[in-house]
């Protein structure tokens, strides 16, 4: 599959602080790529580099096959972007806000109405932005990013400030763009569960490094299978398993045990032999959030050891 975005050894420093420490990103064309990580992980810096707002300290960027920032103008014609909070002119109407971008993109006047319809804002087109809710502002900024039908849409924390209905609508819109128009959507977020619902691919960032990336299923499967156990005296059972070398996490009254190098019947046999009554045992795939916690803990542990 052709890449929409490729970075090789991408680095960026601000003074003595390394914001990105060699990021190799590969975003397939047509994918919905969830770019995940906590605040300060380097997501926004990466996006600013991809858009040419910052210059890299090292490494290379290619967007839609063209080098950035050398071919910025050509690349920019195929990109729509929404960076952080929606930047809009409050003293103008919704339509006037889009009109400014339309003029700068050299698009026909007729390009505005479909963009407004796509985000259901046709009814408020002639209202000044003072009367817009945060959700409406976010949708207007999205409509502006969609002007000119970009091949690549880069969204930085697009659900910030949206209510549950707004988040659901945005999810639907992103799915439609990818499915109906073949748009590649690169969406950064710190809300892992939210992105898990729409992403076809993910990249997990922490402390300026890309910890994992790839198709969502493969990334989750790569984390290794686990068993989810409901057992009486969970604390004691966890200690017993840990004493035999199993990696155990406790979640409420349940145990999550990594199966790396072992299998579920071994665990069941051990617990029963030690007198624990097991109510339920099933294999489970970790959620993005669980995987992320595991990867960041490992990354932090490696740094401390170093």
């Amino acid at each position: 599959m052709q890449s929409a975005i490729t970075t090789t050894g991408l680095r960026r420093s601000f003074g003595s602080k390394d914001a990105l420490r060699g990021v190799d990103l590969a975003v397939p064309a047509g994918s919905i790529f969830g770019f995940l990580g906590p605040n300060g992980a380097g997501k926004t810096t990466t996006i600013r580099l991809l858009l040419g707002l910052l210059r890299p300290s090292g490494g290379r960027i290619a967007i839609l096959g063209l080098p950035m920032p050398a071919r910025r103008l050509e690349i920019a014609r195929s990109i729509g972007a929404l960076v952080e909070t929606p930047a809009l002119y409050d003293h103008l109407t919704g339509r006037e806000n889009l009109e400014i971008t339309r003029l700068l993109l050299g698009l026909p006047r007729s390009a505005i109405a479909p963009a407004l319809d796509l985000v259901d804002l046709g009814f408020a087109a002639h209202q000044r932005l003072g009367g817009y809710s945060l959700g409406m502002r976010q949708r207007l900024a999205l409509a502006r990013a969609l002007l000119g039908a970009p091949r690549l849409l880069i969204l930085d924390e697009p659900t910030n400030g949206l209510d549950p209905d707004g988040i659901r609508d945005l999810r639907g819109l992103i799915r439609r763009l990818a499915a109906d128009h073949g748009t590649t959507v690169f969406v950064s977020s710190h809300q892992l569960a939210e992105v898990q619902q729409i992403a076809t691919h993910v990249g997990l960032m922490c402390d300026g490094r890309l910890l994992a990336q790839g198709p969502l299923g493969e990334v989750l499967a790569g984390a290794g299978p686990r068993v989810d156990i409901a057992v009486e005296r969970a604390d004691a059972a966890a200690r017993a398993l840990a004493a035999r070398g199993w990696t155990v996490e406790q979640a409420g009254g349940r145990l999550l045990v990594d199966l790396a190098g072992g299998n579920a019947p071994d665990i069941l046999e051990l617990l029963v032999a030690q007198g624990f009554r097991v109510a339920e045992l099933r294999r489970s795939v970790p959620t993005l959030e669980e995987l992320y916690v595991r990867l960041t803990a490992a990354s932090t542990g490696q740094r401390r050891a170093a």
């Binding site: 040419g52 103008l73 930047a87």
Partner: protein, 241 residues
Amino acid sequence: MLALLRAETLKLHRSLALLLCFAAPACVAAFAALALATAPGAKTWDRRLDEGLAMWSFFMLPMAVTALTILVAQIEHGPRMWNHLLVLPVRRSRLFMAKTMVVAGLLIAMQFQVYAGLYLAGWLVEAILPSHHLNGPMQARDMAVGLAAMGIGALAMLIVQLWAALRFRSFVIPLVIGIVGTFAALVITASGSDVYLPWLLPVYATMWPRPSGQYGVVLGLTGGLVALAAMLIDLGRREHP
């Protein structure tokens, strides 16, 4: 470039920047009318017009340019609009050039309004207070030439102020530059020194075609073009973290 100019003009709709462009010249006209209505003794058109021009060139124009450039820049700084504008497929130099041209257009509009405002103020006072009749020729041509020269002489100041306003997100820095420049110009004039500050060039330019007027026009124009080139290079290369 035409599309960029249209976009920049659209941004001014309902903006404070546009309001200022009407308010500042109107203030000069109002002050001129007040001075005419209250000043004792015989009055002539050339004397009153010179007073109006002095008020505009020494104080109101530099302060209006300071405020105007800040308000225009804050249209982008306020909502952090650079994140959006600078990722569009438009050369940054063209983007900033269009903004400069629109601000220069607003300066020309203010000069026209001062021209019209000073005459209107004279006629209005004559109509309300017939005893305050203005004598002598109306100097319409000299007045137009003086305001045109002043506008050209103000270019260096305009670009320096616009550069500072676009360069810094906070309005305090360009405001301080404008206030310091305006008052430094007043002090230099009072001391009789031959120092050519950008904020003083419009004052000199009104003396066109005398040599100091020519200095004002030529330095204002060349200084403005040099400052414009430096501004376009600086803002075009700047990162936006």
